[in-house]
């Protein structure tokens, strides 16, 4: 068994090497298997690390000797939390890779995708293990490149979305950079180590610290996909290769973003419930839940609909962590891993449908549940999990988030519950439109996907059931040890503690079902079951504006930038005009004037000379 530093180093170096090999491999078919193999080794390494941390009973830290420049230090710190997300990331990598074997079969343009996947795995592993904040940023921001690369792999038109993603995520990463620089100021530049600052009681939320918190929070939550820098995700759902969605936005980025958010909130700032920062996080969480789910409700594309849920569900995690009370934090973190499982699974079913039916347009789908039973069952379980139906994993984590939110203020709870109603409604619509009903005219009858595609889905389904039915395993084994000290003896495993909340959840789900049945009967199809919400007075105008991208910070930001750059451009041209025109004219003018004075007239020259003599004489006389 290699020493810890070696294992940690391997967790970054091995997938990076894998990416390099994939780049050099000549055949596409072999690339996917290399990715499966590398991910498998990665899982093994991560588990080994997890056991080492577990066995040691404390965080394992390690930094490169003689490597410290201005607070930049190559230092790793692997605690329970880090080891857990590392293992999860590697696990998702192996499932998505296996899925990709069949998904990409017969294509010869997958080099970027597979290399990007392994490079992302290497960088995200580095970010999860880094203790020094600049070191963390190095890996974290490096994901920008792989993000761009993987979306770009989606085909000839995907690059527009790739650019959008790079700009939006780059913007939030620069916020993170600014935040880290402010932490250095706040800390007096002595140390940028997460664990050292955390051990010293955390930073104060004063002017500098507060701005640092906001900037860091923007960086972390945007990576997880929250508002307002989320708008590339639905576009990527359409343009990027589907396994990308199941891998980065659904799983790895959620793990990373919420992992860092928890680190910032709980460790770096030791967030307390009575602070404005806690309220800020909860408002952001609640807004993300509601706005994104409202958008999800009216989507007509399988993948786009899912992508809005990938945004909406982040809201629960941010809300949970933001409550700063034990139930909420545990719920938020539990929701993070649950979401990664069911959302990955949902995207994989989307990919299965796309591959077998040739489309993800809900209007052209229908009645494929019978032909694709494994996919359908996987969809049902994952959809129940995301909607918070007992006894699946999403139910338990949402109950904990509700619990924490209600402890702070009923308004947050109400927002979260309303979000759940709309989530359930949109999945009823999705399932009904895609898997039930009658097949659309002129579409081919699909077959079930090959084993390498349904195995990953079923593994995730099993996880959704296991983490729900036997939740002490994740809660006591994975989540609660992260918060050992802050839990104050609470144990959230087992059945929910508040039966009132469970009852309210059931009522909410029943409402969603009733709404769907009523809407479906009224409109005559599953796809149009929520049209009465879509076209409700007031809402329909807002939806129309959203579809025109009025609320997209990218499109609106580009308008502002375009205005600014035009002003800059003309300002620049104006300066140039001074050089090219004004200075030339001035020089010509002076030249003409001087020439006029030198016209060859003898008397004029004598007059000039006399005037000169008088001036000199006056100066001499006066001085």
């Amino acid at each position: 068994m290699p020493a810890i530093p070696v294992t940690a180093l391997l967790l970054v170096a091995f997938p990076a090497l894998g990416a390099l090999i994939v780049l050099l491999l000549p055949r596409d078919a072999s690339r996917s298997w290399v990715s499966v193999g590398v991910s498998a080794v990665q899982v093994g390494l991560a588990i080994q690390l997890f056991r080492a941390v577990h066995g040691a009973g404390h965080a394992l830290a390690w930094s490169a000797p003689s490597w410290a420049y201005w607070g930049l230090e190559a230092s790793f710190r692997i605690d329970h939390f880090a080891a857990f997300v590392l293992t999860a990331a590697a696990g998702f990598s192996i499932l998505v890779s296996l899925y990709g074997v069949a998904f990409f079969a017969g294509r010869n343009d997958t080099r970027s995708f597979w290399a990007g996947l392994l490079a992302s795995l290497a960088l995200s592993s580095g970010a999860m293990m880094a203790d020094n904040l600049i070191f963390l940023l190095f890996f974290w921001e490096g994901l920008l490149g792989t993000l761009f690369w993987m979306i770009w792999a989606g085909g000839p038109d995907a690059w527009k979305t790739a650019v959008k993603a790079l700009v939006l995520v780059g913007l939030s990463d620069l916020c993170l950079m600014g935040g880290i620089a402010l932490v250095a100021v706040s800390e007096g530049g002595s140390s940028l180590s997460l664990s050292t600052i955390g051990a010293s009681g955390g930073l104060a939320l004063d002017a500098t610290g507060g701005l640092a918190f906001v900037l860091l929070m923007i960086g972390a939550t945007s990576k997880a996909g929250s508002l307002p820098f989320h708008t590339w995700i639905p576009d990527a759902a359409v343009d990027a290769p589907l396994p990308f969605m199941a891998f980065l936005p659904a799983a790895i980025e959620k793990l990373l973003g919420i992992y860092l958010l928890a680190r910032i909130a709980l460790e770096l700032f030791a967030l307390r419930p009575d602070t404005w920062a806690s309220h800020l996080l909860m408002v952001l969480g609640a807004a993300t839940i509601l706005i994104a789910v409202a958008m999800a409700l009216v989507q007509r594309d399988y993948k786009r609909l899912l992508s809005y849920h990938a945004i909406s569900q982040v809201g629960y995690m941010i809300l949970g962590v933001g409550t700063a009370v034990p139930a909420g934090i545990v719920g938020g973190l539990f929701h993070m891993i649950n979401h990664a499982m069911y959302k990955s699974c949902l995207f994989l079913t989307g990919g299965a449908v796309e591959r077998q039916a040739g489309t993800t347009d809900l209007a052209r789908l229908g009645g494929i549940g019978r032909a694709m039973p494994v996919t359908f069952v996987s969809f049902i379980v994952a959809a129940c999990a995301i909607s918070g139906v007992p006894p699946f994993n999403g139910f338990f984590s949402k109950e904990l988030v509700y619990d924490g939110a209600l402890e702070r203020h009923w308004i947050y709870y109400a927002a979260a519950l309303l979000g759940s109603v709309l989530t359930a409604a949109s999945f009823l619509k999705l399932g009904h439109a895609a898997f039930l009903g009658k097949p659309a005219a002129g579409t081919r009858t699909p077959k079930e996907v090959p084993w390498s595609m349904w195995v990953p889905m079923l593994v995730l389904v099993a996880g959704c059931i296991l983490f729900g039915v036997y939740n002490p395993l994740p809660l006591r084994g994975l989540i609660q040890p992260i918060l050992a000290d802050q839990l104050a003896g609470h144990d959230f495993a087992g059945l929910p503690h508040s039966w009132l909340l469970v009852a309210l959840t059931c009522i909410a789900l029943a409402l969603a079902l009733a709404n769907h049945l009523w809407g479906a009967r009224r409109s005559g199809s599953g796809l149009h079951a929520v049209d009465h919400i879509h076209h409700a007075p007031g809402l329909s105008q807002v939806y129309a504006m959203a579809e025109r991208r009025v609320f997209d910070p990218y499109d609106q930001g580009l308008v502002v930038v375009r205005g600014f750059s035009l002003v800059s451009f003309w300002f620049d041209r104006g300066i140039d005009w001074i050089y090219d025109v004004v200075s030339v004219r001035v020089a010509h003018g002076i030249g003409r004037g001087l020439r006029a004075l030198h016209d060859g007239s003898y008397s004029l020259y004598v007059a000039w000379s006399l005037a000169g003599v008088i001036v000199v004489a006056l100066i001499v006389a006066l001085s």
Partner: protein
């Protein structure tokens, strides 16, 4: 051979050798190409030979007193060696690239003469410890630059060369007045003497202001910058040499030498210069988003990135200064790469307007990838080298408490992402327009691939450059106190 002789060789081999190049070229163009590269390599290797001793703590000095306080006094300290290494490294790659690029054109004797003379003058400038000697080398670079920009001899092009010459020489003359002011108060043109004379008190604001005019004009900072985008009419290796790697770094270097290493300036300048730099960075980035000429965009990007370097140097914190030096290195590599990529595109398509380009990524994959990697480095995306420089500059600026200013620069960094992506997508992605040329010259494509690889490796294996920069900055701040 002792250090001071090596120092003389480093400076005067290219300066004198350049004058012999046309003669060699008469005999054999091939030999001339080789000799030109060899002359630049003498500077590179010589500086590298000096480096261990200098970074070990012993400066190398050559001193020959001449009349009127104009003393031939060269010192190889850490800052000088660092700058010499960066300039001659990028310079050597550019000369190598020129072999193939310039073979298509006439007047090659003049070309190599001016390029090597320029690099030699750069060596003299970084090692000089006498203000008048520094000024002389400064003007030699201006003359070489004037001929190189006007290389293609059409009237509009010559006019632009004149413009560059007039603006930079005007700045240099104003700077010379500043030098004379310093001489009046300090009694010498020698930097070590002046340092002692002004020890512990700031130098006159008027002198700082006058010298700044020279520095800002040479390093193309608002409002003295417009000659730089106009100079894009030069052959691409020249634009790489002038705009990216060497010429624009002269002002930055002299700023570090005078206001970082030698003199103390009053606190006002730690606010004024960053704001000038910030305005320059933002305005030129905005203009880059509107421009449609490939080389003008990259040139405006240089103006913008120089703003980051000035920010780091002028805020007066250790990390900021270190970041700026690191950025000089990383920006030189990657921006040089961008210009050389633009050169490949320009030479194969005979087109610089990005609205008439597109889809070149398919037929010129190596150039496209090299361009993208270099862009990532300029954007400051890890694991490329530019990341560390950008972070450290931002952190250094934050450290002074000027949060608004720092956010301004972060906005500039976002614009950097935007205009470089716009350039990349319009040139290399989308549908091909017109001809679809192939990558013809191996040495040219190899050069850009080398620079792109250096940008990447320089980021992943940051240790050596970080160490160089750290030692340099520690030395600087000790010297100024």
């Amino acid at each position: 051979m002792d250090g001071s002789k090596i120092l003389l060789l480093v400076v005067f081999t290219p300066v004198v050798g350049a004058l012999l190049l046309p003669l060699v070229g008469r005999a054999s163009p091939r030999a001339r190409n080789l000799v030109a590269l060899a002359l630049v390599l003498v500077s590179l290797v010589g500086s590298a030979v000096l480096a261990p001793g200098v970074f070990g703590g012993t400066d190398v000095v050559f001193r020959q007193d001449l009349a009127q306080g104009i003393n031939l006094w060269f010192v190889a300290d850490r800052l000088a060696v660092f700058m010499a290494l960066v300039s001659s490294l990028v310079g050597a790659v550019i000369v190598f690239y020129s072999w193939s690029y310039i073979a298509h054109y006439g007047h090659q004797e003049e070309y190599y003469l001016m390029v090597v003379l320029f690099l030699g003058a750069m060596m003299g400038l970084v090692y000089a410890q006498n203000l008048i000697v520094l000024y002389l080398f400064w003007e030699i670079t201006a003359i070489a630059c004037w001929r190189l920009i006007g290389f293609f001899r059409d009237r509009p092009i010559v006019l632009r060369a004149d413009k560059a010459f007039l603006v930079t020489v005007f700045g240099a003359l104003v700077m010379l007045i500043g030098f004379i002011l310093l001489h009046g108060e300090g009694g010498s043109f020698d930097l070590p003497v002046l340092r002692r004379a002004f020890a512990g008190r700031p130098i006159p604001d008027l002198a700082v202001g006058l010298i700044l005019v020279g520095i800002l004009s040479k390093s193309a900072t608002l409002p003295l910058h417009t000659w730089l985008p106009d100079a894009g009419v030069a052959p691409s290796p020249v634009t790489a040499l002038l705009h990216a790697a060497v010429l624009v770094k002269i002002g930055v270097y002299v700023f570090a030498r005078l206001f970082g290493d030698t003199f103390v300036v009053s606190d006002t300048w730690h606010v004024v210069v960053p704001w000038i730099a910030g305005t320059s960075a933002l305005v030129s980035a905005g203009a880059a988003l509107v421009e449609t000429d490939m080389k003008r965009i990259i040139a405006l990007s240089t103006v913008s990135q120089i703003g980051f370097i000035f920010l780091g140097l002028s805020v007066g914190t250790e990390i900021g200064m270190a970041g700026a030096l690191l950025y000089i290195l990383m920006h030189g590599l990657s921006k040089g790469g961008l210009f050389l990529c633009a050169g490949i595109v320009e030479q194969t398509t005979h087109e610089k307007d990005i609205r008439r380009l597109g889809g070149l990524g398919r037929t010129m994959p190596v150039t496209a990838v090299a361009f993208l990697l270099c862009s990532f480095s300029v954007m400051g995306i890890p694991p490329f080298g530019g990341f560390f420089g950008k972070y450290m500059v931002i952190a250094g600026s934050m450290e002074t408490g000027q949060v608004g200013l720092t956010l301004l620069f972060l906005a500039g960094a976002v614009l950097t992402i935007l205009y470089l992506l716009r350039l990349f997508t319009m040139v290399f992605l989308g549908q091909p327009r017109g001809t679809t040329p192939q990558e013809t010259s191996r040495s040219m494509v190899g050069s850009v691939a080398f620079l792109a690889a250096l940008s990447l490796v320089g980021g992943i294996w940051i240790t050596p450059s970080a160490w160089l920069v750290q030692s340099t900055v520690v030395n600087l701040l000790v010297a100024a106190r």
